[in-house]
């Protein structure tokens, strides 16, 4: 996704960079920990995914703390205290017109959020704290971390304290180095790390009235899970939820786990994950007529019958049939020729039962939910199916373009959406011209040379390679090569399969 527009809120003489994304009815402010950069972090798919998930149900507000990212940097030796960060948060809320927001605070950001919630209860709708702690002296071991910053800031080595599982991924570490360099100068990074060693918001905890969810990854590499438990025990009514993983950075690791927990806590609804997208060949089959020649559309029993038949046939072609009550049968396949062959068999079997089906085939991206799928490509496939005559299989030009050499024959028919630019060309499948699908399982022995055929005959008689070599006055090595070539040409897995094929062909 394209990064949202960066705006600046005025906090005293300082400008705090922020972004707003999403159109939800409530505001969710992401209060990040150590460093951030509103421009660079959108390059990371994990950040993108988490931001997209959160902004699907809220108006997500992101900002860079002063001294980091796109906000004013100032003198790195003058450490901004938590009070200053609270003022900056206030300025961002004012600029975005947020009267009451959910604060999603991570690590040091959790401390800022806690303090804010205790001081401005009217402006906090709820709190979500991730990887947080009340007292850094108790839970944060910063000595090594600070030594790493001192020694190698800008090379991505701080990644080991945020996402250890990705530390050995050179590309990601390189990117993390860029993220470090563009998020804070070396001295500012040191100052931030130093600041976080002196955080203690314990006294604010009993004053938090907002409903609070504490999230903590069980093996958080930088802040132990006990810190989260401690928060949950001391904040009135707080709920604790452990998430699997070692990542301290909230937007690395399993970000869906994080988003699911936050969405359920804030909306009360268990989220359905929508975003598994797949490029697939789609088959839409409609029942248009049965034996009595009466249009039937949504006859439940008949639909179930065709559904079962489709499931059986599609299963053989590696397809998946959508569950649920639909006026038509929907299936998706890995490749176009499999989908076409399934459609041909389906139409034929249905016809034998006196049912006329029409099918539409198209290729495009679909969003796969557990047992169903949706998307614009499916709409197109439905329109194509609606254009097909009873017993006809219509495919879009994308299907035909991607299946040359598959032994499929098509004739061009009308176009879909004549008024749209460009219209989609449609082709009818000609089933009678379909070449035998199991061609490779019954390969023609004619492709073999005379010598290879001789070798094959002897193989089928059960002779070993040395025996064949003696019989044909060849070297053992040559026979071996002939056998290998035979298997390759006939696309057979083993010598035994070759013997079986030769025996079968002799019988025929």
């Amino acid at each position: 996704m394209r990064p949202p527009e960066v705006r600046y809120a005025r906090s005293g003489d300082w400008r705090i960079a922020y972004q707003v994304v999403g159109q939800g009815s409530f505001d969710l402010v992401f209060v990040d920990g150590f460093i951030s950069n509103l421009e660079v972090q959108w390059e990371d798919p994990g950040f993108n995914h988490l931001a997209n998930r959160l902004s699907a149900f809220s108006r997500l507000i992101l900002f860079d703390k002063r001294g980091t990212g796109l906000s004013d940097r100032g003198d790195p030796t003058e450490l901004p205290g938590l009070q200053t960060h609270m003022d900056d948060l206030c300025a961002v809320l004012d600029a975005t017109g947020s009267g009451k927001a959910v604060l999603f605070g991570c690590a040091e950001g959790a401390a800022i959020s806690l303090l804010f919630a205790a001081n401005y209860p009217d402006r906090v709708r709820a709190l979500v704290l991730y990887g947080g702690f009340a007292n850094s002296m108790e839970y944060l071991a910063q000595t090594e971390f600070m030594a790493t910053i001192e020694k190698s800031w800008g090379n991505g080595f701080s990644l080991q304290y945020f996402s250890p599982g990705r530390f050995n991924d050179p590309r990601f570490r390189e990117w993390w180095g860029r993220f470090e360099r563009l998020s804070a100068s070396p001295r500012a990074a040191m100052a931030l790390a130093l600041m976080s060693t002196a955080i203690d918001v314990s006294s604010a905890l009993p004053h938090v009235v907002a409903s609070t969810l504490i999230l903590h990854r069980t093996n958080d590499v930088s802040v132990p899970q006990e810190a989260g438990h401690d928060l949950a025990q001391r904040i009135p009514g707080a709920r604790f939820l452990a998430l699997p993983g070692r990542d301290h950075q909230v937007w690395t690791g399993d970000t869906d786990e994080v988003a699911d927990a936050v969405e359920e806590f804030l909306t009360g609804a268990r989220p359905v994950r929508h975003h598994h997208q797949l490029l697939a060949t789609l088959l839409v089959a409609r029942i248009v007529q049965h034996a009595t020649q009466k249009a039937i559309g949504g006859n439940g029993d008949l639909l179930q019958l065709i559904h079962n038949i489709t499931e059986r046939i599609a299963g053989r072609y590696g397809g998946h049939v959508s569950e649920g009550v639909e006026p038509e049968i929907l299936a998706h396949f890995d490749g176009p020729s499999r989908a076409v062959r399934c459609a041909v068999e389906l139409v034929r079997e249905a016809c034998e039962l006196g049912i006329k089906c029409s099918c539409g085939l198209h290729i495009g991206e679909v969003e796969v939910h557990r047992t169903s799928f949706a998307g614009d490509a499916l709409r197109v496939a439905r329109e194509i199916a609606a254009k097909a005559k009873p017993g006809e299989i219509l495919a879009s030009s994308i299907v035909t373009d991607l299946s040359p050499g598959a032994g499929l024959h098509f004739v061009e028919r009308e176009r879909l959406g004549e008024r749209s630019e460009p219209p989609l060309r449609l082709f009818a499948v000609v089933p009678e011209h379909l070449e035998p699908q199991l061609k490779l399982e019954n390969p023609a022995i004619e492709v073999l040379t005379t010598r290879e055929r001789q070798v094959l005959t002897l193989v089928s008689e059960g002779l070993s390679n040395p025996a064949i070599a003696t019989e044909l006055h060849l070297s053992n090595h040559t026979v071996k090569r002939h056998v290998a070539n035979i298997l390759l040409k006939l696309d057979l897995p083993s010598r035994a399969a070759a013997a079986a094929l030769a025996a079968k062909q002799q019988q025929a």
Binding site: F57, T96, G97
Partner: protein, 121 residues
């Protein structure tokens, strides 16, 4: 317990409540089992965000009305038990939102509402 005044919903009442960011009054316009459907960039027509029931709708309006922004209900059309209006909103930093809403009324209360919105982003 506060008693709710029974107010028949009409374009003028909606305009006044929205423009005054009066979430409580807005919530009182809805039937107990009302359905509110929101369609926007993140909630496309095949998966709109749905808010069911008066309590959830009250929270929805409470959240929106807590924002320090201006709302202007511009066009309002009524036909029998159906009502439609357009709404232009502006955040303090200048970001604008435009919404169209279509409502079904039952016994003077909103039973169904569909909102389509577009945002500056």
């Amino acid at each position: 317990m506060p008693t709710t005044t029974v107010e028949r919903v009409n374009g003028a009442a909606i305009k006044q409540a929205i423009e005054n960011r009066d979430g409580r009054r807005l919530a009182s316009f809805y039937a107990d089992d009302a359905h509110l459907k929101v369609i926007d960039r993140n909630n496309p027509p095949s998966r709109p965000r749905e808010v069911h029931g008066k309590a959830a709708i009250a929270t929805f309006w409470d959240d929106i009305c807590s924002r320090a922004m201006t709302h202007k209900v511009e066009t309002s059309i009524a036909e029998g038990d159906r009502l439609a209006f357009s709404q232009a909103c502006t955040y303090p930093d200048g970001a604008r939102v435009f919404c169209l809403a279509v409502l079904d009324l039952e016994n003077g209360k909103i039973a169904n509402q569909t909102v389509v919105q577009a945002w500056d982003e």
